[in-house]
Symmetry: D2
Amino acid sequence: MSVLVEFSMTPLDKGESVSTYVARSLEIISNSGLPYKLGPMGTCIEGEWDEVMAVIKQCYEKMNSDCNRISISIKADVRSGKTGRLEGKIQSVEAKLGRTVNH
Amino acid sequence: MSVLVEFSMTPLDKGESVSTYVARSLEIISNSGLPYKLGPMGTCIEGEWDEVMAVIKQCYEKMNSDCNRISISIKADVRSGKTGRLEGKIQSVEAKLGRTVNH
Amino acid sequence: MSVLVEFSMTPLDKGESVSTYVARSLEIISNSGLPYKLGPMGTCIEGEWDEVMAVIKQCYEKMNSDCNRISISIKADVRSGKTGRLEGKIQSVEAKLGRTVNH
Amino acid sequence: MSVLVEFSMTPLDKGESVSTYVARSLEIISNSGLPYKLGPMGTCIEGEWDEVMAVIKQCYEKMNSDCNRISISIKADVRSGKTGRLEGKIQSVEAKLGRTVNH
């Protein structure tokens, strides 16, 4: 089982520069021990359902401690009988194309 | 505190008609007792973080019991000091416009 | 052909109350003549690809005229040989359940 | 102006393995000449509004030519006075953390 999640969490009441808040979330994600990958529009994490949701909840509780309004986006792709999809999905597309791409 | 969530959950391995699976999720949501609103692209639920996430997990476990690949989208809008936002957000826009709109 | 789109567009640099900006978008959507439905987390529009994308672009240009940072979410569900899905998808779920639900 | 978009486009009527269809989209993106970055859950592109939307439309038209039902997710982050954010946003988070992270 692989639950692959991309999520982003942004305060709406802290002005247009929010990287301080993103960095706090990333610290939590990094400390979780789950495999992750930071991207330009969100962070991907892979694990079991309860594992990834526990990390997202921790990020939420931290942000909720000093932000009045928070916007959260979570996309999950769940697939039975697969693992290692943080890298595997990209490799699968590259295999179909017969070449590497920017990633 | 109001955690307002819209989510959709779709199997990728069951062909293009998926309303049977959406109906199963809606049964779970309806039985949860949380206020909800079914829309054309997802279902909105309002509650505390743990309440809404518990409902989404139940929907996930049901779908995961007989689907091999599942795509999930969750958007959350969290706001301190507010409640009743399933209706309140729409009313707030209508108040700004000075008239009702389709909803 | 039915391109059913739900979208939300939010300034990040205008504080936590953004209904003024949502109302401006809704005015544009309403004036487009396309069928639409305002929900708690976004607005659904149905039409051809170019039609719905033209409306979203108009909303973007208006918001971009006085906001420095904008967050946009667009989800589309495209299905051949169908129309009227703003209402049809909800009715289809209700038919499977054998009863009406909150919508 | 920087319009940074992450999008994914998936057929719902082609079974659980969809990398063939993702590869076709990536070919179009790569040929567009716009800076892009393939991730586990979507592809990020940066450009002007019309540029990125033209690429997404091309991907849509290709997929629509042989798929009956398509699910599309587009997230955009628009910011005035910035460019190079495919890499810049990640670097900004790393600068706040004082160290590199997985990306």
